[in-house]
């Protein structure tokens, strides 16, 4: 006797995912910790489209007619601002979260492409400094591995107030990834679950951040651009404060931003999507007459040249990619399927970075698993992916008649949904309507 499928009614409030999670919580008494970024559906750049050339606007020819992509970062105060060939950088990801091979692959690809990579919550490795020509060095609440030598040999300093996956949360690394090498860098016992502070130990608030930035400048003789990175929440206010505190560059990371490990509740329920965050950040800069003078880097779910182009059209100077970088290196690729199964997941749905058992050798410290990603192969993949992103970016820019991608502007965009129109403050396609224009 079989079940009549017509009588089955799934619950939207208690779908299988939610039922499984409640029962897991009941079994384990632990919140769910996982990697990756927000998985739920959100208004994104997909809901914006470009208005390409037509009778009223003329396009540029591909290849011959240049569409420049370079960007200067850190022009406000730094003696040695950074000049990148492309406006796509690699976001901060720690050695600890990622294995050494992944970090080296990233460094090599960035060097080839003329862009920057970023250290993470664990400090700078030799592999990364050697392989990446332009390296941004993070200063985080944990201060793991922070030291003045690395501060002096980096190319820019990024003070991390928060990240999109967990605005208000600190770093997390579970015991199985705290190997001898990671433990030594972080000065922690091997194999423990790392607890991390969510606030910096020696400053809280923008007035004291101002003084901290001053100290970092003094130690490095005012040479390096100083970035301030925030997870997107009260973005307009935060960007204004970062500017007032003396930042050269502000990095805004939307809720789609990834992590190697944090509580699911943080990832899915704290922070705003990247789409409105870009707009808020740009408005804050414009209000202070600092747009383009203090540069804006945007991250959180950037996946393609189209996404980069839209962020830049909205006013960003550059974008950073984290999760997309890992995907280029093999994350969620349908290979080693049996190892995905061991983690109780499938390729395409895996978010198990926190376990250290990454089937494709990216977010693992295990030497056997790391063999699955050679630095050369990883560098090639990432370089190719970045090249494609840049070509896509130039394609849409040329189609909009731009000889430099920075000449993309909000007027080149329209929205396909009401939410996207309101969040990005561009009109709904075919109309003059920008919803929610009241209180912004």
């Amino acid at each position: 006797m079989s079940v009549d499928p017509r009588g089955l009614r799934p619950s939207a409030t208690f779908p299988p995912n939610v039922i499984a999670e409640i029962q897991r919580a009941a079994d384990q008494g632990l919140y769910e910790i996982r990697g990756f970024g927000a998985k739920r559906k959100l208004p994104t750049f997909d809901d914006l489209v470009f208005l390409g050339a037509s009778v009223s606007r003329y396009p540029l020819e591909g290849y011959r007619e240049k569409c420049a992509t370079d960007v200067w970062l850190g022009t406000r105060f730094a003696k040695k601002p950074i000049h990148l060939k492309i406006p796509i950088t690699i976001a901060g990801m720690s050695f600890g979260a990622l294995g050494a091979n992944a970090k080296e692959a990233i460094g090599r690809a960035c060097t080839e492409m003329g862009t920057s990579s970023t250290t993470g919550d664990g400090g700078m490795t030799e592999e990364e400094r050697r392989s990446s020509k332009t390296l941004v060095y993070q200063v985080l609440p944990s201060r793991y591995g922070l030291n003045p030598d690395d501060l002096r040999r980096c190319d820019a300093i990024e003070v991390v107030v928060g990240q999109g996956a967990k605005p208000g949360g600190g770093g997390m690394l579970l015991g199985m990834k705290i190997t001898e090498r990671v433990a030594a860098m972080r000065r922690l016992p091997v194999g423990i679950d790392q607890r991390s502070a969510c606030r910096h130990p020696d400053w809280t608030g923008p007035d004291d951040l101002t003084i901290k930035i001053q100290e970092l400048r003094e130690i490095t003789n005012w040479e390096k651009p100083i970035y301030v990175k925030v997870g997107a929440t009260r973005t307009r206010y935060d960007v204004a404060l970062a500017v007032k505190a003396g930042a050269d560059v502000v990095v805004v990371d939307g809720m789609q931003g990834g992590t190697a490990a944090t509580q699911d509740v943080f990832i899915e329920h704290v922070g705003i999507p990247t789409l409105p965050a870009v707009r808020l950040a740009v408005e804050a800069l414009q209000e202070l007459d600092m747009h383009r003078k203090v540069q804006l880097i945007v991250s959180g779910g950037i996946r393609s040249g189209a996404d980069a182009g839209k962020a830049i059209a909205m006013g960003a100077d550059a974008v950073a990619i984290g999760s997309a970088t890992m995907v280029a290196l093999g994350c969620n690729k349908p290979v080693y399927i049996e190892d995905y199964h061991k983690l109780d997941t499938e390729p395409g749905m895996c978010h198990h970075c926190h376990t250290g058992r990454c089937p494709v050798g990216v977010t693992t410290q295990d030497p056997e698993l790391q063999k699955r990603l050679s630095p050369e192969q990883g560098a090639r993949w990432l370089r190719n992916y970045l090249s494609v992103m840049v070509l896509e970016l130039q394609t849409v820019a040329r189609a909009c008649g731009k000889s430099h991608v920075h000449n993309l502007e909000p007027d080149d965009l329209v929205a396909l949904t009401v939410e996207a129109a309101a969040m990005a403050k561009v009109p709904l396609a075919g109309t003059d309507w920008i919803p929610g224009n009241g209180r912004f």
């Binding site: 606030r199 809280t204 608030g205 923008p206 007035d207 004291d208 101002t210 003084i211 206010y237 204004a240 404060l241 007032k244 209000e287 202070l288 007459d289």
Partner: protein, 299 residues
Amino acid sequence: MCGIVGLFLKNPALRPQLGKHLSTMLIGMTDRGPDSAGIAVYHKPVGDSQCKLTLFHADPNYHWRSIGGQMGEDLSAEVDTEVKGNHVVLTVTSDEAIVRRWLKQHHPEVRVMGYGQLMEVYKDMGLPAEVIDKYSVRAMEGTHAIGHTRMATESAVTTEHSHPFTAASDMCLVHNGSLSNHNNLRKWLRARGHEFETDNDSEVAARYFAQRMDEGASLPEALEAGLRDLDGFYTFTMGTRDGFAVLRDAISCKPAVLAETDDYVAMASEFRSLANLPGVDKASIWEPKPAVVYTWSLQ
């Protein structure tokens, strides 16, 4: 985004120099707050039948005398006006609540910076040193004073978000930090009749303490209640008729330093503001503990 200071003189012999020392302290906080500065000074008490109000208007040539004249007529009161920069100090033979009501009706464009019988409040834009010169702070004498220097976080630098915030007669507050539940508190206070000039969290704190004291709480009791009801990070310095109080939240990340001698108690966000006070080398220097109410009074 700011620096706060407070000075309470125990020794009457030092009172002629209140303004001189306050100025040094305030200038020491310039780096933390270069955009605007505000002070509240307690001095020149008026008679029992009188009240004193400090008013502000952005126009330095505002027609204060004619307003004073009109007020005197309407309220059948004597009104003395002393213009200082963008401010005027009115001394009126009337009750401050009546005067404030009149002002609200007839001159809503005028901002009431402070009121009571002793307290005068001056808030203006510019570096602390500039504000000090404009209002001749160095020459001021008095028993106690609090001050604030501000780094504006919005583009339009106005004095609207400047501290001290006044919420009751001879009472005002300066704040370094950020409250996290002030929006709900604002609604609660509005329901009890309080009106707000800004959306600033510090204004909420000032009116909250005023509310508690209205309900009959003493100053220390009001501050203790604040520890329960105000959430977030704060160092408060509050000026009252008789003295001043300092309070830090239970986590105490925002800075605060105190220096005490037989002659005075001084408070600042950074020690550098206290470093030039007389006898500070022999002073007892300490940082207030979290969630402990510190009060000093003339009584």
